[in-house]
């Protein structure tokens, strides 16, 4: 297993290179630059050039890339060009936990609701409940998140004042778990809605497949009741593709919550990404691309490992 992980990590290197080259090319192709965001318009062009020169923004793109790559390999993502002097790694590390917390909670929330519904749908396909779940999950897919988020704020935060309007915690208040949870609920619901829909569908079709399998019939022929058969024999098999899905969902943690983060003033990676893209803060964009690519790699690896854990047939 260890050697497998090592090999997989090695194999991720060309992938990371490809991603960074493509990203670098794309962001350099985008018009504008950090200078136009950073600079006072009263600045003389010569001073602008001086600044650009200092940060190597006038070098040929490939030179810039290799310089960046060289530093990146050394673990140095550089400093933000906008929040000058702040190491990019610090910017990211400040926000990453928030994003991860939000995504993990919303994913768990989604899973907790979606999986039982999916299982039930699969046990009674084409029943009324199945139809309800189907329609409900598609509704979740089809609801634009930014609209939904603002609606929730308007109703549950402003009108009923049940939940805070945004942020990760109450300002100027001592840390409390309950307070954090309280702040998590609405954004997690918005994010979970879309995931929930997809997860329900996946669970349903996966369980439908599983419940058709011969070993389910075997288990039934042993005299077990349907519920036990579904939960003991069906679920573990049905969860294999679902668990894999969680691994593959990991990368979406990076950019997937951008809109929700913005609406709920949730200081996460997604909104950092959007801001940096608008501000052409190249080091931050590149670092986030790398982080996201690493998440992809980890996600895939995790998917494989989880697969192996859940499915004894897979061995490394």
């Amino acid at each position: 297993m260890a050697s497998y992980i090592f090999r997989r990590t090695l194999m991720a290197i060309p992938l990371l290179l490809g991603i960074t080259i493509l990203s670098f090319a794309i962001i350099k192709a985008a018009p504008g630059g950090p200078v136009s965001m950073l600079m006072d318009p009263t600045m003389k062009p010569s001073d602008r050039e001086k600044f650009e020169e200092k940060y190597g923004l006038n070098d040929p793109v490939h030179v810039q890339y290799f310089k960046w790559l060289g530093n990146m390999v050394k673990g140095d993502f550089g400093n933000s060009l906008i929040k000058r002097g702040v190491p990019v790694s610090e910017l990211i590390m400040n926000r990453l936990p928030n994003t991860l917390l939000l995504m993990v909670v919303s994913t768990l929330l989604a899973a907790l609701i979606a999986i039982p519904f999916g299982i039930y749908s699969a046990m009674r396909p084409y029943s009324k409940l199945d139809y309800t779940v189907t329609v409900g999950s598609f509704l979740g897919i089809a609801t634009p998140g930014f609209w939904f988020g603002l609606m929730l704020i308007m109703f549950f935060s402003v009108k009923f004042a049940w939940f805070p309007t945004g942020g990760v915690a109450t300002l100027n208040a001592p840390f409390s778990i309950w307070d954090r949870i309280h702040h998590l609920i609405l954004p997690a619901i918005v994010l979970a809605t879309a995931d929930m829909a997809a997860l329900t569908r996946y669970t349903r079709s996966s369980m439908l497949d599983v419940l058709k399998q011969d070993y389910i019939r075997t288990a039934l022929s042993k005299g077990f009741k349907e519920k036990k058969v579904v939960l003991k024999h069906g679920l573990r098999n049905g969860m294999i593709p679902i668990v894999t899905l969680f691994g593959l969902m990991l990368p979406s943690f990076i950019g997937g919550a951008a809109i929700t983060e913005k609406i709920f003033a949730w200081p996460g990676i997604g909104s950092l990404f959007i801001d940096s893209a608008f501000q052409r803060d190249y080091p931050v964009i590149m670092a986030l691309t790398v982080v996201s690519a690493i998440f992809v790699v980890i996600g895939n690896l995790l998917a494989d490992i989880l697969y192996a854990i859940f499915d004894p047939r897979i061995e490394y």
């Binding site: 011969d214 070993y215 075997t218 288990a219 042993k222 005299g223 003991k232 859940f310």
Partner: protein, 326 residues
């Protein structure tokens, strides 16, 4: 002698939209204690549905036992509550299936899959159950049973998995074992091993076997009595010796003639024209009549009944007179 299992006019129908598909359409069958009965027929004859009906494992909806009785030790399984049926399944009646590769749960160890039955039906402790599981695995011929119980099915070959299936099925000393094409998916050399094992175990535990197969060779090796099904009905029933000596029903005759022999040369195989009709298109009259070389008008209009001729029975007008003579 009362039968261990007796099917009386069993009808299992499938309802799809407005169409009713009579997959099993009035089957009578008896299995005595210690006896091995082979249920023979081609695909679509309803033999598997019959076996699943006995186990009450017909997916419902759309399937449903619409008529008839399944008397097991005098108890009508068709009318048993789901709870009571659960107590019989795997305990008094157990079953093995055609595909050993897919019949075992791939994510549970072999031990778990045996132990769960023992704990459930025999109320054994986990420890006792695993000892018993090891014993069962040894009984079906595994020398490394102790290690095997912690192993997963995918490490075993098809033949080994079928042994495990047999071990699971036999673990509660069932009175009846239903084996649905247990060797069809196996290679001949392995098939021989499995058939031997089944024979041995049925003798050892005095278990009756309902063997479902399309392979007449297997039937002749294993069975005491043979029931031939065609289109959801029993067309002929006889002891193995009687049947192979003199098949009565034209379908049985055709079936036996179709099989190339390992000995002796045949220039040309006997073949039955046409194909087995799907259940929604069962013909009127005798269901075999369109394919029957001897069919006459009556066959096409009137459905023959299963008629006893001595110790055997047949569903064919050709043998009406024979009954009269006997």
């Amino acid at each position: 002698m009362t039968a261990l299992l007796e099917l009386k006019n069993l009808k299992t129908h499938f309802k799809r939209k407005k169409v009713t598909i009579p997959a099993v359409d009035g089957v009578d069958l008896k299995i005595h204690k210690g006896e091995t009965v082979a249920l023979v027929g081609e695909s679509g004859s309803g033999k598997s549905i019959t076996s699943l009906s006995i186990m009450r494992l017909i997916p419902s909806p759309p399937g449903e036992i619409v008529d008839g009785e399944i008397l097991f030790n005098g108890q009508d399984l068709a009318r048993l509550s789901d709870n009571d049926m659960c107590k019989i399944r795997g305990n008094d009646i157990s079953m093995i299936f055609q595909e050993p590769m897919t019949s075992l749960n791939p994510v549970l160890t072999i031990g778990e899959q045996i132990i769960e039955v023992l704990m459930y039906h025999q109320k054994l402790s986990k420890r006792a159950a695993s000892l018993k599981a090891i014993e069962m695995l040894e009984t079906v011929g595994f020398s490394r049973a102790k290690e095997l119980i912690d192993d997963y099915p995918h490490r075993l070959s098809g033949g080994m998995r079928q042994r495990v299936m047999i071990a699971i099925a036999m673990s509660c000393n069932p009175k009846l074992l239903i084996a649905d094409e247990p060797t069809t998916a196996l290679d001949v050399t392995i098939q021989a091993q499995i058939l031997d094992l089944m024979k041995e175990l049925s003798k050892k535990y005095d278990t009756s076997i309902l063997l479902i197969t399309h392979d007449l060779g297997v039937v002749s090796e294993v069975a005491d009595r043979v029931v031939v099904m065609y289109c959801g009905q029993v067309v002929e029933e006889a002891s193995v010796d009687d049947l192979f000596e003199e098949p009565l029903h034209p379908y049985t005759i055709g079936l036996m003639g179709s099989i190339p022999s390992l000995e002796g040369d045949l220039d040309r195989l006997y073949s039955i024209e046409g194909t087995v009709p799907p259940p929604e298109h069962f013909p009127a009259g005798c269901r075999f009549s369109p394919r029957c070389p001897h069919a006459f008008d009556r066959c096409r209009n009137e459905a023959p009944v299963l008629r006893e001729i001595g110790s055997r029975s047949v569903r064919c007008f050709l043998h009406d007179d024979k009954e009269a003579t006997k």
